[in-house]
């Protein structure tokens, strides 16, 4: 019996776990450029991919890294890159190409403090909005935010499955703390890993952008006589450039709706002690772990607080938060930036939230969020 | 050594097999750039008075004697940027010349 047939426990960093998750779900192509704090993803891939018959390439920069994985994906491989802040900014243009050309791929961003070079080795969560609105134009994004190495592993698998299911790039939005901390990761036997693969067309030639009823087109492989044309220009379902307002409406409508219509299938939220809570703490990534402690401390003090954790940060659970607001609950938002999820929470709940932000460098101490909870308790709204 | 008689025979054979071409055009693709006309080594093409649907003057063959004829060299089809003009070999013999 090979080791793949039985579950194995490994003590891994979040970065390494993300790489292992990708390999477990069938990622066989990685192109990346070293950048702290994501380099361990690339290092793990460099060692592991050849062992499983996969290709690792260290590219000359992040612009080429993402271009290469888009090419790798069209060439039929499940493909991934990993980067951090400045590199993520450099990838934004071709992230847009990936959206426009409906190319399944996974982009790992291990967030650090920014803007610019900022805090290369230290925590930030400043790309919450960039993950959603970072590239130009109209789109719906999918981004997952793990809080532990186990989730880095599990969410890497899910990120690929969503990418392949919806034919779109998916962002695994990690942060330095989660990327660098080590914890036990249970790696299930290979047969227990659910791996989704892109739909393939049944006819040859098949137009590369002719969608099924679910709005997702089957993806023709290269070299099989499909003679596909793929362009970043606005195009018809054959891939022919057609730069008209009408085609833009049609194409964007489908690209956006193929995500929006399946929002409930994509969204994954952890609600812990929300039902009876007066105060709801919204957090994601490492901050959720501080928030969980803060909620426990609040409960010990008799304050009914609960944790609303965004395991998927995009699409955003606007409806659910509005429902909770309508029940009269108050909100605290904790994140390592100057207020990004805050904007979404306040828009969803239509009321002010108590914001517990940090500019970056270190995660929240639990008492900092506890203070926020107490402040919310005494606020008027 | 090649004898004079042999030389003559060779020359005759060569004359008999000088390739001749027919010139074809996909007229609606022509943008009237004139490159085929300018670069034809035998100068068999001229701009026509006709205009195609895009408003360009496609080339036509020189008609007025004395003119050279298309030798099927294929340069026009290589220099044409528009996949419009091409030649095909026409087999001829001496008596037709």
């Amino acid at each position: 019996m090979s080791s793949k047939d039985i579950a194995a426990d490994e003590f891994l960093s979040g970065d390494a776990a993300a790489a292992e998750g990708a390999i477990a779900v069938g990622c066989r192509f990685f192109a990346g450029y070293p950048i702290t704090p994501s380099s361990e993803v690339a290092e793990r891939m460099a060692r592991r991919l050849p062992e499983v018959g996969g290709i690792f390439i260290q590219m000359e920069d992040e612009l080429s890294s993402i271009a290469a994985i888009l090419g790798g994906s069209w060439a039929g491989k499940k493909s991934m890159t990993a980067t951090s802040g400045p590199g993520f900014s450099l990838m934004m243009e071709n992230y847009g190409l990936g959206i426009m050309t409906e190319t399944p791929t996974v982009i790992v961003n291990v967030q650090r403090g920014g803007p610019s070079t900022g805090l290369p080795t230290l925590l930030g969560q400043g790309e919450f909005m960039q993950a959603r609105f970072g590239t130009h134009g109209s789109l719906e994004a999918i981004a997952l935010s793990p809080e532990s190495p186990q989730e880095c592993f599990d969410f890497a698998i899910r990120a690929f499955n969503l990418a392949e299911r919806f034919r779109t790039p998916v962002i695994l939005l990690m942060d330095e703390s989660v990327g660098h901390l080590f914890e036990k990761v249970r790696i299930p036997p290979q047969r227990n890993i659910e791996a989704v693969s892109r739909k393939l067309p049944e006819e040859v030639p098949y137009p590369p952008f002719r969608a099924d009823e679910d709005l997702v087109p089957p993806m023709p492989p290269l070299g099989d006589g499909h003679h596909i044309h793929v362009t970043g220009l606005t195009h018809d379902d054959e891939g022919r450039p057609e730069m008209t307002p009408k085609m833009q409406e049609e194409l964007m409508g489908r690209l956006v709706n193929k995500i929006r219509l399946y929002k409930d299938e994509i969204m994954d939220i952890e609600e812990d002690g929300i039902d009876d809570a007066d105060i709801v703490v919204v957090a994601y990534g490492i901050t959720a772990r501080s928030a969980r402690r803060a909620v426990t401390l609040a409960r010990e003090k008799g304050i009914k607080a609960g944790l609303f954790r965004l395991k998927t940060v995009w699409p955003f659970p606007t409806e659910r938060l509005r429902e909770l607001a309508e029940q009269g609950k108050k909100f605290v938002v904790a994140e390592v930036n100057t207020g990004q999820a805050l904007i979404m929470v306040e828009q969803a709940t239509r009321k002010d939230a108590v914001f517990v932000g940090k500019y970056g460098g270190e995660p929240h101490k639990p008492f900092e969020i506890l203070n926020g909870i107490e402040e919310a308790l005494h606020a008027d709204n | 050594m090649v004898t004079e008689a042999e030389k003559q025979r060779l020359l005759e054979r060569e004359a008999a097999t000088i390739p001749r071409g027919d010139v074809y055009i996909v007229e609606e693709r022509c943008k009237g750039c004139g490159l085929c006309i300018a670069f034809c080594p035998k100068k068999v093409l001229v701009e026509s008075d006709r205009i195609n649907e895009k408003g360009y003057h496609p080339p036509e063959l020189v008609e007025k004697p004395p003119v050279d004829v298309c030798i099927n060299c294929g340069f026009c089809e290589r220099i044409c940027p528009d996949f419009a003009i091409f030649v095909k070999e026409k087999k001829v013999n001496n008596s037709e010349q």
Binding site: D9, E10, F11, P120, T121, S177, H180, L181, F182, E183, K184, I286, R289, S290, R292, R293, T296, P363, K365, P366 | -
Partner: protein
Amino acid sequence: MSRTEIKIGGFGGQGVILAGLVLARALSLYEGKQAVFTQEYGAEARGGSSASGVVIDDERVDYPYPLNPDIMVLMSQGAMKTYLPLMKDGGILIIEKDLVRLDKIPESVGEFHSIPATKLAEEVLHNKIVTNIIMVGFIAKVTGVVSKENIKRSVLEMVPAKVRELNDRAFETGYNYDEGAE
């Protein structure tokens, strides 16, 4: 065991990261605990400040960083200044005897231990690189936070095969160090 926090502080090159990692790994994989390992380091690859944290719990560890360490291991004067004030009252303090100068053991310290790990590495094992593993052996012995068998397994699995024997001896040197002997 409820939440227990361990902090190991020193300077880059002393191997405090690996020391924390082998400890957390042993607890997590072989002792059935939930354990998180975290690290702090400066920008310099060598010589800057360096620290690792281990948080252990029976249930899922929420906040993963040590807040008030129950066990504090200090291997440099710099680390002493930074981390000693964070120690939990009644906790266990372990120092590198020759590198940490402590005028007076704070009253809040519940238990105090010291070991000249660097000197032992140089004089007994003739290799400074195993200072951290000597320290790991000593931590295991004096705190009892992890069984000897499990921590040794973790150490030997984490080091390259060719230095396994050296690390084994280093571990035993630390584990068997007799504080009272000097």
